[in-house]
């Protein structure tokens, strides 16, 4: 079995940590780590560093984050970002606009009728 030197050993640290070395290569590295104090200490530092990275707390998004995103989308799209949910959602606005149109038309007709000489029969 070929041995591993210092430079080769440190090159294998990541693959060893990721459990991606083949059994022979892993055994050669382990053999080297057992016999070499320098490389063993280096690997211990490596292991400790990656252990600490893996133990970092998973930070949660702040409260109100999701509502803030939706608000941002609405703002950018000037309220036209999302599809209407259905007829019932649109109805009040459409009904209101129809009523307003009807009211304007009625006022116009009344004003026309109120003018002198309107609808004068021959």
């Amino acid at each position: 079995m070929a041995t591993v030197d210092h430079a080769q050993a440190s090159e294998l640290f990541s693959s060893y940590w990721d459990e991606e070395l083949g059994p022979d290569e892993a055994a050669r590295l382990e053999e080297h780590l057992r016999s070499c104090v320098v490389c063993r200490r280096e690997y211990e530092h490596f292991e400790r560093a990656l252990g600490a990275v893996g133990a970092l707390a998973h930070e949660l998004a702040p409260r109100g984050f999701a509502a803030g995103v939706v608000q941002r989308v609405h703002k950018r799209a000037r309220g036209r970002a999302f599809a209407s949910r259905g007829l019932l959602d649109r109805l009040p606005y459409e009904l209101f606009s129809l009523l307003m149109l009807g009211l304007i038309l009625a006022i116009y007709v009344i004003l026309q009728m109120a003018q002198p000489g309107h609808l004068r029969l021959p």
Binding site: F13, H45, E59, V69
Partner: protein, 204 residues
């Protein structure tokens, strides 16, 4: 050490339905997607940028981009991979912008961690530690790790965060970064060795 196939345990079918509804501009589907992925995206961005306010802003922009670009999502990759790619691009752009303004990202997380310690209310996902000394020790270590990550260059930082913080597979990292697997592995190794050196000097 491998990454879980679906970080949130969402079934593929449920995810597909949500995405289809989002493509139809369904507000509730969008809200649901944000709710499901907000913590993952926020954590990734925070670890990359190191500042909560910036991270919140960037993470929100990530979801705005998701909303704007969802029609371009064809389902060839996993939704989470696509989402992480958007997040990675936003992080790179923001870091460039902040770099031009000579921004340093190492301190803010510490203050937040210390506030958290004073409140004695660690976040829901913080691992349980036994006593105050261990909590303090854990937070000091977290601060050092965050400092070490912040000192890495942008690409190395991204690889450490994706692989060692988010626990993604090499396949996913390649899809997110657009790098070949060999390149990812060799750069990640260099990043890990740099971080090891930094921490060894400070912790011993």
């Amino acid at each position: 050490m491998g990454a879980s196939p679906n970080p949130l345990g969402l079934t593929a079918l449920r995810e597909r339905l949500l995405i289809r509804r989002l493509q139809q501009r369904d507000e509730r589907a969008f809200h649901e997607i944000v709710r499901l992925y907000q913590h993952k995206v926020f954590n990734l961005v925070l670890r990359m940028i190191g500042n909560r306010e910036e991270a919140e802003d960037v993470a929100q922009e990530v979801f705005v981009t998701v909303f704007k670009s969802i029609d371009g999502f064809r389902g060839e990759a996993k939704f989470s991979t696509w989402l992480y790619r958007i997040a990675a691009n936003h992080c790179k752009n923001r870091m460039k912008y902040l770099g031009r303004r000579s921004y340093k990202a190492t301190g803010e997380l510490d203050e937040a961690a210390e506030r958290e310690l004073q409140d004695a209310q660690p976040s829901a996902m913080t691992p349980h530690l036994d006593g105050p000394d261990k909590v303090l020790e854990g937070m000091q270590m977290e601060r050092l790790v965050q400092e070490g990550i912040a000192l890495l260059d942008e690409e190395h930082r991204m690889l450490i965060v994706l692989r060692d913080v988010e626990d993604l597979s090499y396949q996913e990292i390649c899809a997110i970064t657009g790098l070949a697997e060999g390149t990812v592995k060799s750069r990640l190794h260099r990043a890990r060795m740099s971080l090891k050196e930094y921490l060894a000097k400070r912790v011993g």
